[in-house]
């Protein structure tokens, strides 16, 4: 709470400062930044943080520097701090930092920490003022899988291929490794996929090698762009058991090794802009194959596919008022969309297997530097929501409600 107040103060201070200074440039180096403070309130369940009581643990701060020392070389760095419930805690991180040599329009090489494409909007997911929504659709841009999606330390090639009347094809191929915290994001997902926290505590989580391929085709039909991305992120985790379950020969303190030797995401995207109206739709399919080893015995987790999609639209009603909305669905297992197979006493409850989200949002553009958003969500299901964030209700239950609502508000200053 104190931290949120601090961020809010900084936001306001930046705003006052904006009257005299923006988009600074020092010795040819461009400096840009943004700072956001949000508020979240849910009717039931905990959407990252204590949202049932109302949470201010929802902010971002970023600042970047970039310079072009020669015609073909670009270097830059963005520092990001973020707090989102139990994630981020406003620790400073390198969001991107790279050297880029663009030889031709159709071929450039980049090395460093590189933002990775996933769908059309992953690279800008932490920069609030670049979109109308507060939350991108969770089916494709899941907060709980954010760690693996954000960026890679590695190298990549990219370019824009001009195809005359066939339009423009942009491509990006990146190979590297992401930084993943054993306490946040995807690690929480692995520890809390059931209704209750699983009886293990992650000690380490690694994705040694990941590659991402992204394509965007600006089609000859003006305003229509189509995209496709594919990534493979094999995940290796080490954990220890926090309780004993003799029936499966798991004892407190035992080492538990998780090996997702296949973890792929395929996203196909379409976006159409006509005048002030933007329509977008994306579909994601995730394939997972994993092995869990404890007490020296490997247990095959099998091969599971998850999927999700959304259809959304935004409209610039006026210079200062934008309206948007989307409907999104995601499923943990395409072979069990209703969650009936996992529903048994002591294990999952059906609505942990799906997440349906109807969102309506408003974006008020105060001026070039400020915007304020108000957003409502109607949720059905609790897939994609961390079990670790949940607090038992008076009856000792978590995820007691399948139907729930979220109200979100956010104010952002950028320069």
């Amino acid at each position: 709470m104190k931290k949120a107040t601090f961020i809010l103060t900084i936001t306001l201070a930046f705003g006052l400062f904006a009257g005299c200074c923006f988009a600074a440039e020092a010795m040819g180096i461009d400096i840009h930044g943004f700072i956001s403070q949000g508020y979240l309130k849910t009717t039931h369940n905990y959407f990252y943080g204590d949202t049932v009581d109302g949470s201010l643990e929802f902010n971002e701060f970023g600042i970047n520097l970039a310079e072009e020392p020669t015609d073909h070389i670009r270097v830059g760095l963005q520092i990001l701090a973020r707090d989102f419930g139990s994630n981020g805690d406003d620790k400073l991180t390198i969001d991107w930092a790279f050297g880029d040599y663009r030889w031709k329009d159709w071929l450039g090489v980049e090395v460093g920490k590189i933002k990775t494409p996933k769908g059309l909007y992953n690279e800008t997911r932490d920069v609030d003022m670049l979109r109308t929504y507060i939350f991108l659709p969770q089916s494709v841009y899941s907060e709980i899988l954010r760690d693996t999606d954000l960026g890679l330390f590695g190298a990549g090639v990219y370019g824009d291929i001009h195809m005359n009347k066939a339009g423009l094809l942009s491509y990006q191929i990146i190979y590297g490794t992401p930084n993943i915290s054993p306490n946040e994001s995807v690690s929480q997902a692995l520890q809390g996929t059931t209704a209750y926290k699983t009886p293990i505590q992650n000690d380490s989580i690694n994705v040694d090698k990941k590659y991402v391929v992204g394509l965007v085709w600006e089609t000859p039909l003006e305003g229509l762009r189509l995209g496709a991305t594919y990534d493979n992120s094999p995940i290796f985790t080490t954990a220890h058991a926090t309780m004993s379950i003799p029936a499966i020969f798991l004892y407190e303190g035992d080492m538990v090794i998780g090996n997702f030797d296949k973890y792929t995401n395929t996203v196909i995207s379409a976006e159409y802009t006509v005048g002030n109206l933007l329509l977008a739709s994306e579909y994601i399919r995730t394939a997972k194959k994993f092995l869990i080893t404890f007490s020296g015995v490997p247990h095959d987790g099998g091969y599971i596919t998850a999927d999700g999609w959304y259809l959304g639209s935004t409209y610039q009603v006026s210079d200062w008022f934008h309206l948007g909305g989307y409907y999104s669905e995601s499923y943990n297992n395409t072979a069990d969309r209703e969650g009936t197979a996992v529903s048994r006493p002591g294990n999952d409850i059906p609505h942990r297997s799906y997440f349906k989200d109807a969102c309506l949002t408003t974006n008020f553009i105060v001026n070039e530097y400020w915007n304020i958003k108000l957003e409502g969500h109607r949720f059905i299901g609790t897939h994609r929501i961390s079990a670790l964030d949940q607090v038992p209700d008076a009856n000792g239950k978590v995820f007691a409600h399948k139907d729930w609502n979220l109200f979100a508000a956010k104010i952002t200053f950028s320069f």
Binding site: A66, R74, D105, L130, L168, S170, N276
Partner: protein, 141 residues
């Protein structure tokens, strides 16, 4: 009567092909050393979106824009097919992902002409009728 018909025909053709010299009340200008005599609409769009980065002789393209002027609104909607807000957001996306630098902007035709005249590889746009000095006016195909 005959000359009247010819005048009407010329006006009709001019209306059908507004891009021959200018569109939406703006003209495209470049530095005099830029090695091109015409551009098509797609070239202009790709240049101002940062997708086409060098001229045919290998010199880097330096594109500049106007900020909040009528000429700017007209240019963006005619050639880049975005409104001012959409164009601003497009470049902010490039800036906050490290992929690009916000184009240099000017608040008057005269300042932009001066910059383009003095900067190798520069391209910009000004209101029709603006004195372009040493800068080269580029017809649009």
């Amino acid at each position: 009567m005959k000359s009247g018909s010819i005048l009407v025909f010329i006006l009709f053709v001019a209306l059908l092909v507004p891009g021959l010299s200018s569109a939406g009340g703006v003209v495209i200008i470049t530095n005099e050393n830029v090695p091109t005599s015409t551009l098509d609409r797609d070239d202009i769009k790709q240049i101002f979106l940062g997708k086409k980065t060098t001229w045919d002789n290998g010199v880097k393209i330096v594109f500049v824009v106007q900020d909040g002027t009528e000429a700017s609104d007209s240019f963006l909607e005619t050639y880049v097919l975005k409104n001012a807000y959409q164009y601003d957001i497009y470049w902010k996306k490039q800036v906050f992902t490290g992929k690009g630098k916000t184009p240099k902007s000017f608040s008057s035709d005269q300042d932009l002409v001066r910059f383009v005249s003095q900067t190798p590889g520069a391209i910009g746009y000004v209101s029709s009728g603006t004195a372009t000095g040493k800068a080269k006016t580029i017809p649009v195909r």
